[in-house]
Amino acid sequence: MSYGVTQEMIDTFGDIVFKLSLNKQIRRGDPVRNLDFESIAASRSETGLTDEEIAKKIGLLPEQVSVVRVFTERKHHKIDQHRRLYHLGGGKRWRKDNYKNPLERLKFREDAMLLREAIKFKPELVTKYIEKGFWVDETLNSHLKHYAVNSPESLAIIHPDGELTYKELDEQVEQLTNGLLGLGLTKGDVVSVQLPNTIEFILCYFAITAFGGIMQTIHMSYRDTDIEFLLSHSRSRAIICLPKFKDFPTQDVMLRLKNKLNTLEYVISTGTEATDGVLILQNLKFPGTPQIENPPVGSDPFLLLYTSGTTSNPKGVPLTYQNMIGNARLSVPEFNMCSEDRNISAAPFTHLYGLYNFHVALCAGATNILLPVFTPDGLAETIERTKSTTIFLGPPHAASMLDLNLIEKYNFSSIRFSMFSGSACPKHILTAYREKILIQNRNTRIGQLWGMTETAGATFCRDSGPIDLPLTSAGPAAPGNEVRVVSRDDGTVLSSNIEGELQVRGSSVFPGYFDNPEANKASFTKDGWFKTGDLAMLDQDKNLILTGRIKDIISRGGVKFNPADIEELIMSHPSINQAAIVPMPDKVLGERACCFVTVTQSQNITLKEICVFLDSKRISKNKWPERLKIIKEMPLTPTKKIIKNKLLEKL
């Protein structure tokens, strides 16, 4: 039925009908009680008319008035008004300023929802993780608050310019949180950070995540193109950076990107001076307890890390607290980490490995020691000065200290546990490192950890495990995780000591790449195993032995071999620092091996010398490199993994 009503009629008469109806009522004096019939009659239209009375007054049919009124009321309708009821009574009085619609605080920006939609776990696995206690309701800041309350005077951070107790750290985090909230940043917003391992990084990390923000890290070595990709893909709202880094004008580049990218709203810089359009981090600190409308919970994403991109463009890896903080909490007893420990990370916090060991120490209530920029001397000197007890490093960090005989030169006796990760760990480096520290501390132990941005700490050697296991293995799966090795041909699960593709499933494994459905499809099996792309074996005790990367395999005339063993052998040559073998296209054989090396100081080497060396090690001829390229510097990821893609470009 049309009722003869048009939209124009609603627009024309809507306001007067709304006003004349019982929707708005005005009464002057007290005419009914006083039986003042004249006043009552005169004020009828102000106290509200029926549709029939309105119809007579404005010249419409009563039915038309009804339609006009209903549509106009709809226009005035504000949703969820009834939610105000739940804020009333029970000792609470209505205060306009105190009220916030509960649904308002649950609103996420569209970009934030995109990221949340990337969080997809398999329900049956989630049930298992929760039932077994792998996942609980914990956040980065809940651990900080715990120690700020329970051991406020314990040292949380030692950095080059001073120290902070847990209480002091918490206070500074609250101040910065106030500043970030003041910018209008809200839960689910991505905030990018390009900072070294400084106290500013730590404060930003806690402050961003305190209100439910998501930190996205940018490695210090990244420049314009890489940064633009990350800021754009992550839809970051703010970037926190140095004013400049070495010869890189960070602030200026970020400002240019802010003008270019619609999503980037704020450039925030450390230091005391900033160009126009850049906010100073120090000025964003305001005292007081932050009013956080929608505090983060365990299932929220809080990190958006990007893969190092050794084989392709970086991929966005969202991680939830339950993934990452759960992984760290479960690792604490395995490393016997306690509040007395002083932990140092040689790895940058922009990378998963750096954050992982920071989290482990935080969960234990231990002290984290900050090393802003890695230099062999700097690391050794800091260990001696701070009496570090645990260290998380990569083989290149150890190799450089060994090269310079720094372990003998400095006091490493406080080191009780050293964890290696970041790339395949050559046995000769681990052995040499351990032997040198053992001289100073007879009880020191080493460990090996294997993980990826996608898996966090997936496997690792335990502090109480077999002493020599870490020389060859990255240990068993972390609590909450499972590992298996499958055939690359048909996907069947292989028995122990047979090489195949490594697959991981578990509570620390990420939910899927952000905004990259193709990669997600290619990276997971139907039953939720993540295909790592690494070649590995499991020994009879399910300890992981990494053997290489699938993409590194060289197919010479159809005969395939993994160059990882050969690379390790070549690196043990006294003249060679680092070595990487990549496949070189060949018309006859399809592929041949090309070896890239960096040489030790004032040394040189030829292809023939390498072949003679490999022959002396009884390596079959088909695995010898057939071309040698000596380069000054290996292209490395921030965690010192060789970027083979860049080597291929040099062929």
């Binding site: 004096g29 007290d30 008035v65 309708h77 804020h87 306009k96």
Partner: protein
Amino acid sequence: MKREKFDPHFVKEECEKYVKKKGGLAFGIANLESLEQIAPQGHNPTAMLPKVKTVISIGVGGGTQGSWSADAKTLAYIGDTETMAYRIAYGLAFFIESRFGYRAIFVPPDMDPEKGARVPMQSLKLHAEVAGIGARSMAGDILLHPEFGMMYYASVFTELEMPPDQPMAENPCPHPSCVTLYKRTGQTPCQKFCPVECLSGSIDENDQIEEMKYDSHACAEMSQQYEAIPSVLLDTLDAKNPIERGMALHGPENQVLWYKLSIGAGELLSLCYECMRVCPITQTALMANPVARGAGMRQKIVEAEAAARTEHNIEHESDKIK
């Protein structure tokens, strides 16, 4: 219907007694002529019961002191006692017909579907105000009584004649403390604490209500759930995605609406009773049966009377022996 003549004052007293006995707080008779003059056409008493002679208004109390201190959702469930008022009025209508033989009608407290938004068939507030058991306040014309505070009202129309009461001589609103606050801040407490700011107005120099403004739409949006139902359905249609749509219909707040609707529609709710069907306590609880309970009580009375008689007889016999 045979119509015996009764003394109107006696009738009024009898009706008031009935109402008070059943739990009513206030009882009053509204002047019919005044109502006929004030109520809009179609909403006057004779439009509903043409030969009406008397309009009875009764009031029952609102929440207990405890419920006024409870949170809003608790108060919403236990604070409104209008059904009690309706029950008394319904009983009173039957009482008048059976006791005095005159027609009476329980005035439906419902909206008039033909007349527009929030237009009642009869204004129960108007009846109560004219009957002198409430006066319009600054709080959206909610009626207040100096002794009983806020009440819920129900009305009965009857062809039996009773003498009318007068409207209250004085309006208890605004209370002196509210006047003080108004003079200091420009707002009465009800205006200040309204969550949707639907109340405004002013007090004159004689500390009386000068003007009362009430945004009924804003008030109803928050507190009248029946008006929320079409909004819920429209929100459902407007929802951008399945989660919004699902929450519009199944969100906890909105589910309360369907719950209430289901109760109103006499739908089956929650219990299959299989567990209670096999429960020995439930099945052997004889006193749960009102007939059995009545019989049991009667039996007890019979036994008590018999015991009393026996005792009396024994005493009587013993007297004889003495």
